[in-house]
């Protein structure tokens, strides 16, 4: 399945990934709602995945062999798996915290200081 | 050195190390109400260790010299770490000392009822750790055991300590932080030494290998590395500006910890300075010797004067031990075989003496619940045996002939007066002030009119007599027949190559005052 002449290069993909990552980062930094933070985290993971796949796609690999050529894709797959687990546990935690504290505002989550 | 000995290795030292450890494990699995049984097992463990180290003391071949009873097991071959044990004339007296004091300290805490199980477990760990530092032939193992020692001391001071001028929490914290700061500097020095020795490959931590590669260490490196070790070991041996942990720590610590700390733990500093400083970095030692000598004099006189002004018994002895360590430091600074002989013997002598006197103070405190000298007096009426122990300890402290302390001091003076006459004379002047404060506490605590408030006190008896008998016997046996101890120490000094190092170093300084 070839969709074109691929004039779009590696750097472009990397820039897209960086853009997504930084947006996610901003979300992690700036949002108050803990669910929004989790969403931003997912964005960052996606950005990383884009990098994985892009490097896998474009970079020179010494051994042109199926076993090595798809390593980046496999890594991305594992990231997706871990992300799924993470979001499941994370949301469960959010619900637990919400049940105990009646809040999803991370500004109020400072019980671990000092 | 070690290669000259038959291979195969002796398991004597691991057994000595293992005996208290085994007792510790047995105690761990005992019900905590069985305090009597716990004490007996602890005493058994340390007794086995003591008996075996006595055996080692007499089985050691003095004519052969060098490291004996060696055992080497490669541990981390990539880094050159070996589980290497062995003793020579420098470490065997220290090993014996550790076990003598360890055994006595069990009996000195015979009346311990508060959390006895935990106490004896920690005490046995402490004894094992101290022992390990002395039988290690590998710098890494040495350091490992040294770090093991710190943990039980902190816990023991915090839980079983006593609060006097400073709180026991403060005392424990001070003790621990000093030990750790010292060990931090030591660690840097150790790593630097290790890297310098591994410059041409074949990394090693073995003491003898490190010493054999002296030509790899440049003079500036030796100076810097010795400086680090001086700071580390110096704070351990309570060298002058780094001494203030010693009186506070002893005053806060329970009796057994005071005994072991003043008796042997402190000696790791002197032992390390000789074994690692003088032996491995002779040029550095020579460079720093004037500094050590000056600080040693400060130790001797300054601490002796402060001891005069103390009201708490343990503070007197705490400062006294700082003062006595000054002699060891003078001896190290003098850098000749005679004085190093004296330094090792002095560490042994002071260990026995201070352990004895601390155990006696422990009993006094246990019975009268005070250590304040003005509150005490005339205890010889009610507790003659305790008074005898106290007087023996005091006499040893002021260096009375027929106690081992006298010969040690004499040897130190003999060795140091050739090279450091002024410092030695000032140091010898210290014996006067030592006599003053020692006799003062003997007079004010033991003698004087009978005080009716102490009439119900019972003299020490039964197990409580063990520290007095064991340590008193050692003080006089080694004092009347000094060759028992000095023969061994001398074989260590002359056969380990140390002598050669010392001779070359002190060649330029020989000549003396006149």
């Amino acid at each position: 399945m070839n969709l074109g002449n691929l004039s779009v290069g590696l750097s472009t993909y990397l820039l897209v990934g960086a853009m997504l990552f930084c947006l996610g980062l901003y979300g992690v930094f700036a949002k108050r709602n803990i669910i929004a933070i989790l969403m931003s985290l997912e964005l960052m993971l996606n950005a990383v995945n884009i990098n994985f796949v892009a490097f896998n796609r474009f970079l020179w690999n010494q051994k042109i062999d199926i076993h090595y050529i798809l390593t980046g894709n496999v890594a991305a797959l594992f990231v997706i798996v871990v992300a799924a687990a993470e979001i499941a546990v994370g949301l469960a935690l959010v619900i637990t915290i919400y049940r105990n504290r009646q809040s999803t505002n991370v500004d109020e989550f400072n019980w671990l200081k000092w | 050195m070690s290669s000259a000995l038959p291979s195969g290795g002796s398991f004597l030292l691991p057994f000595i190390l293992g005996a208290p450890l085994l007792a510790m494990f047995v105690i761990v699995f005992m019900p905590k109400d069985e305090t009597k049984m716990i004490k007996i097992i602890a005493a058994m463990g340390t007794f086995v260790a003591m008996a075996l180290s006595l055996f080692a003391f007499f089985a050691y071949d003095r004519s052969l010299g060098g490291m004996q009873f060696t055992l080497t097991i490669p541990w981390v071959p990539d880094l050159g770490v070996n589980l290497a044990f062995g003793v020579d004339g420098l470490s065997l007296p220290m090993l014996l000392l550790t076990n003598l004091i360890g055994f006595s300290s069990i009996y000195a805490s015979w009346n311990m009822e508060n959390r006895a199980k935990e106490f004896f477990v920690l005490l046995l760990i402490l004894i094992t750790g101290v022992m390990g530092t002395f039988i290690a032939r590998d710098l890494f193992i040495f350091f490992l055991f040294y770090e093991i020692v710190v943990i039980p001391i902190y816990i023991m001071v915090i839980i079983w300590g006593s609060t006097k001028r400073v709180s026991k929490e403060y005392a424990g914290m001070k003790l621990t932080i000093y030990l750790l700061i010292g060990s931090a500097f030591l660690l840097v020095g150790m790593v630097a030494l290790y890297l310098a020795a591994a410059k041409q490959g074949n990394p090693t931590f073995m003491f003898d290998q490190l010493a054999a590669r002296q030509n790899l260490y440049s003079a500036p490196f030796q100076k810097a590395a010795f400086g680090l070790m001086l700071f580390g070991f110096g704070s351990l041996i309570s060298m002058f500006p780094f001494h203030s942990w010693s009186p506070d720590g002893y005053a806060g610590a329970p009796t057994a910890v005071s005994m072991i700390h003043a008796g042997v733990l402190k000696k790791i500093g002197g032992y390390g300075l000789i074994r690692l400083g003088v032996y491995v970095l002779p040029l550095g030692a020579k460079y720093w010797a004037p500094v050590i000598a000056a600080l040693a004099i400060a130790n001797v006189l300054y601490a002796a004067f402060i001891a005069l002004a103390q009201k708490d018994l343990k503070y007197v002895i705490g400062y006294s031990s700082v003062s006595h360590m000054g002699y060891v430091l003078i001896a190290i600074a003098a850098l000749n075989p005679t004085s190093i002989n004296g330094a090792v013997a002095m560490m042994f002598a002071h260990g026995v003496m201070s352990a004895l006197i601390f155990s006696m103070i422990g009993f006094i405190y246990e019975k009268t619940h005070t250590r304040n000298i003005p509150d005490l007096g005339g205890l010889a009426h009610q507790m003659p045996r305790l008074a005898i122990g106290f007087i023996i300890g005091g006499m040893a402290s002021l260096g009375l002939p027929s106690t081992v302390n006298f010969i040690s001091e004499f040897t130190i003076f003999m060795g140091s007066i050739r090279v450091l006459p002024v410092q030695a004379i000032l140091g010898i002047a210290g014996i006067i002030f030592t006599a003053v404060y020692t006799l003062r506490i003997i007079a004010n605590v033991m003698f004087g009119p009978r005080r009716p408030e102490w009439d119900q006190l019972k003299d020490i008896r039964g197990p409580e007599l063990v520290p007095l008998i064991v340590l008193g016997l050692v003080i006089f046996a080694a004092g009347i027949f000094p060759n028992i101890l000095f023969g061994l120490v001398n074989s260590g000094v002359t056969s380990s190559g140390l002598q050669k190092v010392l001779e070359t170093v002190s060649q330029a300084k020989m000549g003396g005052l006149f």
């Binding site: 930094f29 | 009375l400 007066i417 003698f447 003396g512």
Partner: protein
């Protein structure tokens, strides 16, 4: 002859060993049984006395040969790199004489104590100490080298400490014991230094070897250094005797030492231990002789102590203190005798003094015992009638110390004075003569006030038991005839001398002068205290300041106390202050700094996860920038490269 004796002399080590054995026995076995303890102790010392007499007779038979070739038995004691010490016994006339004197006085005192210490709680302890003392003293006498001598020297000091403080419940006794130990310790500091310097220079501490090394190298400046070095060593060595033998200014402990039981004062603080200093100087005489300055110093100190102590003694009221100052004065005599070169005379006086001073102390003890611990002579009076044996023997002692012929003191004192005069020390001779006068005066004063005169109705004295009077009688005999050892023709100095033996004819003129001085003293005392021709009070009233100064012992104790309490303790307090507020203060300051900065820095721990993440990422960005744009510098910081060469 000499050969057979040699075998006997090899057993000399038994003499100190026996009392030591008895000490161990008493301490570990018989301490519960009073009778057994004293029996063991007395048996041991009597056997030792027997041996000492046997050896003494052997020495006399062997003749002067032993002076040049003493019999030495020794074994290695300490052997390490650069330090080799032997321990052993030396038998020569000097040690033989000392053995006899010490063993005799010790056995007399121990027998005497059977009566004197009757009923004391610490009976076994007392005899244990006595045995330990006998061991130490005899061991010191037999020492072959300086270190051995020093060891036993310190041990006798320990025994002195223990026995002065025997009644440890008395505050005064405990303080006196402490004072004695510390004061002698000051002297020992010098002695120890001297020993160290000597060993450093000559590589030996053996008396004979040292003497040989010194005499062969005396001209060789390269080895001995200058005479100055010898002088320094002699000074340092002499500090020991100054402490032990109570020479000015370290004399202060001896009068206080009278707090111990009186037999102890007789044994330790009159007859034996205090003369150890004289013995040491005699042993080291080759060193002192090599330095005229040191000898001058010794003579000066001795003469000053003699007259100084005698002047104090005339204003004291306590019977034991008078005797103590008298002892100081006589010790000064012996020391200046050594200083002026009257070597044999000094040791002769050591022997005779041991007899009559022990006698007088025991007599004083008998009096004190009879009067139930009264010691002020003005509380006594007319005791001769009630205590004839004590009174008579005491009178013999007084005559002996006053130098009345033919009693022992006359011979030895006369030899000393003659030595001082003939060796060209007229000032010292004059001082000695005046001291002899003072001695006679205060001893007669003591005797007349305590034993003559009216009885005091509140006293009910009675003669002491046999166990106390027999030693008195024996010692009185020795005090009476002991001086005859000088006859005929310097018999004593034939055996005990230094260098070449040069017999000198008795100078009867000088002897006459000293006898006159002694008799004058007795006469003055008689006029003042018996006839009361001149009231003693009126003399005191006429010179109130002099009397006060003398009575207060020149305020030397007060000066020392002030020095100790204000200077030494003050320094201690100042240093302690420095220690806890400056040295420790710096440490605590660092700790406080850490804590303070932690207090500030912990504000950054807001608990806000997002803040943490922001800081973290900011740092990441910075590091990233450094790595991305400044890689030239950073690639060299590769941690693995730093470990390069390890593997």
């Amino acid at each position: 002859m000499f050969k057979e004796m040699h075998d006997l002399f090899q057993w000399a080590w038994l003499i100190p060993a026996l009392p030591f054995l008895s000490f161990l026995l008493i301490a570990f076995v018989t301490k519960r049984s009073k009778g057994l303890s004293s029996t063991v102790s007395i048996l041991a010392i009597l056997t030792a006395l027997g041996l000492a007499i046997a050896i003494g007779l052997g020495i006399i038979q062997s003749g002067a040969e032993l002076v040049e070739h003493p019999v030495i038995v020794s074994a290695n004691w300490l052997n390490i790199w650069g330090l080799k010490i032997d321990i052993g016994t030396v038998v020569d006339p000097l040690s033989g004489m000392m053995l006899f004197v010490v063993a005799l006085v010790a056995s007399m005192v121990q027998i005497y104590s059977l009566g004197y210490m009757q009923g004391d709680k610490g009976w076994s302890r007392y005899y244990a100490y006595q045995s330990l003392f006998a061991f130490s003293m005899l061991g010191m006498v037999l020492a072959t080298n300086l270190l051995q001598l020093f060891i036993f020297w310190e041990l006798v000091g320990l025994c002195s400490y223990l026995l002065i403080g025997f009644w440890y419940f008395k505050v005064s006794a405990r303080e006196a014991a402490k004072k004695a130990f510390i004061t002698t310790r000051v002297g020992d500091f010098g002695l120890l230094l001297g020993i160290l310097f000597l060993y450093n220079k000559f590589e030996t501490l053996d008396f004979t070897a040292l003497s040989a090394a010194l005499s062969t190298n005396l001209q060789n400046v390269a080895v001995v250094g200058t005479v100055g070095y010898v002088t320094v060593m002699a000074f340092l060595i002499f500090m020991g005797p100054m402490g032990k033998s109570g020479q000015f200014p370290l004399h202060v402990w001896l009068p206080d030492a009278m707090e111990g039981p009186t037999p102890v004062s007789a044994l330790i603080h009159a007859a034996t231990m205090v003369v150890a200093g004289v013995y040491l100087v005699a042993k080291m005489y080759f060193l002192f002789e090599a330095s005229p300055v040191a000898l001058q110093f010794v003579a000066g100190i001795g003469a000053f102590t003699a007259i100084f102590a005698a002047s104090i003694a005339i204003a004291q009221d306590d019977i034991k203190r008078i005797l103590a100052y008298s002892t100081l004065s006589q010790l000064g005599y012996m020391v200046f005798a050594l200083g002026v070169g009257a070597y044999s005379a000094s040791l002769f006086h050591l022997m005779t003094h041991a007899f009559f001073k022990a006698l007088m102390f025991l007599g004083a003890g008998s009096v004190i015992h009879a009067l139930h611990e009264k010691q002020n002579i003005w509380d006594m009076g007319g005791l001769w009638r009630k205590m004839p044996i004590t009174g008579t023997t005491f009178f013999i002692g007084v005559l002996a110390i006053s130098g009345v012929p033919p009693f022992a003191g006359f011979w030895s004192k006369d030899e000393i004075l003659a030595g001082a005069f003939q060796n060209g020390h007229p000032i010292i001779y004059a001082v000695g003569l005046f001291t002899a006068f003072l001695t006679a005066f205060y001893m007669s004063r003591l005797f007349f006030v305590a034993f003559m005169g009216p009885e005091k109705p509140q006293n009910h004295p009675h003669e002491s038991p046999l166990s106390m009077t027999i030693p008195l009688v024996i010692l009185a005999c020795f005090s009476a005839i002991g001086g005859l050892a000088a006859l005929p023709e310097h018999n004593f100095s034939f055996f005990i001398h230094f260098g070449e033996f040069e017999p000198e004819a008795m100078n009867w003129g000088l002897a006459g002068i000293s006898v006159v001085a002694g008799l004058l003293g007795i006469g003055f005392a008689y006029y003042i205290y018996v006839k009361e021709a001149i009231k003693a009070e009126s003399i005191a009233a006429r010179f109130p300041i002099v009397y006060r100064i003398l009575n207060n012992k020149y305020y030397i104790d007060e000066v020392y106390l002030w020095l100790i309490h204000h200077i030494m303790d003050g320094l201690g307090k100042v240093l302690y202050f420095i220690d806890i507020y400056i040295v420790d203060g710096i440490i605590n300051g660092i700790a406080l700094l850490t804590r303070g900065s932690a207090k500030v820095l912990r504000r950054t721990g807001t608990g806000q996860l997002q803040t943490y993440a922001m800081v973290f990422f900011f740092a990441v960005v910075v590091i990233f920038m450094v790595f991305a744009f400044g890689e030239g510098q950073l690639s060299s910081l590769n941690p693995l490269a730093m470990l390069g060469g390890v593997k």
